[in-house]
Amino acid sequence: MKMQKKLLAVAISGTLALLSAAPASAHEIDKLRAQIEAMTKRLDQLEQQTAQAEQKAMAAEAKTMQMEEHAKKQMAKMDSMAKPDKGVMSGNDKVRLSLSGHVNRGLLWADDGDEDNVYHVDNDASSTRLRLIGEADVSNDLTVGAAMEVQFESNSSASVNQLNETNVGNDNFTQRRLEIYFDNKRLGKLWIGQGWTASEGTSEVDLSGTDLAGYSDPSVFAGGIRFRDTGGMLTGTDVGDVFNNLDGLSRKDRVRYDTPTIAGFTAAASLIEGDAWDTALRYAADYSGMKVAGAIAYSDPNTPNVDNQVNGSVSVLLAGGLNLTLAAGEQDKITGADPSFYYGKVGYQTRLSNAGMTAFSVDYNRSDDAELAGDEGTAYGVQAVQKFDAWATEAYIGWRTHELNRVGTNVQDIDAVIAGARVKF
């Protein structure tokens, strides 16, 4: 601004010099002087205004910085409130300890042909449970882990029935997994303790997303409900007696070994308490969005009347959401008829809203000779599961009809509907 004033003065002086050289009247010169003074005054005013504006801008900037600083402090305070310092921390970065689980509660309505009732149940398809997992990476290849998982079922959906509507089940935690394992990237995984046998889950591979409301084992939803004969009398046979998906040897005290996964395949074998043993082969692969998973197993339960058991399942989920699940199995008994089953499910997954995935399915189960030779159990149903991603919750509803065709006895069908929600905490 000062430079401009100097230039202006030089220009004015030059102009006056030219004017003085030229013939001009004193009146014109006075007029020019007045104009110059007015311009000079205007320049001073502009200079003051500019200085004031600069001061205001600096003040505003300082205020903005103060506000930003305050906001940062508030954010840090909120963050510290949301994520408090962890009370238990390991000094070793290669050690992990995690606590997880879920609660799964629902209502079961069952109609045995003569009477119907509503039961408050814990859905045995995925019982309420708590899990503690500890792992340590003791080397680049080896992870040592320990797992404790317990369940707490009040009125298991697999156990309630016409005679026991409430207070069904143990009023305490029951064991699921109490084991240690050694997981080597090159050599495989060795498990010791109470946990899944190699064949556990091999009849239940299911990619439909509706397994909370129905899968290959009908006995988990209304397993305790007894069939009623056509005369109205309760029989001693319940749904769980008639339907058995022969799903390996369950969870037991055992030593189990899993090979490393090669081309999607993993083999496993376990030696189980009571001189039982089993082996299984699993497969899982993704074909450009189409997922395939399957398993087959051979088991020797070493029980008095069972020689061996073969079972398996496979599930395919197409990229568009259409899915198909099949399962089957047979038990070779030393005497009597050999129980067997087969199962099919067709489903579809889609996203109907922003809440989360919605899955639908229909299924069919046929179980033969499960309790008595000649028994024919048929179950068919419809399932739906809605995920609520923001709540870590799945709401479900499933309906099934259970039919028993038994030589010498006429029983009525059992209809059952289960509806509830599982919240993962």
Partner: protein, 55 residues
């Protein structure tokens, strides 16, 4: 032993499928341990002393 034949057929189909260049993935039983975040534990799906994949 029709079951042996059926299981064998399934195994063969799975074996052929494995040879076609598919990408292996870890199948998890949704009923055993659901994947994804937890309502209280957040994105990890578990309260944990350290970040990292369990099991």
């Amino acid at each position: 032993m029709q079951w042996i034949q059926r299981i064998g057929l399934t195994a063969m189909i799975m074996l052929l499928a494995a040879c076609s260049g598919a990408q292996p993935y870890q199948y998890t039983d949704n009923r055993e341990q659901p994947s994804g975040p937890g309502l209280f534990s957040g994105s990890d799906g578990a309260f944990s002393t350290a970040k990292g994949d369990s099991e």
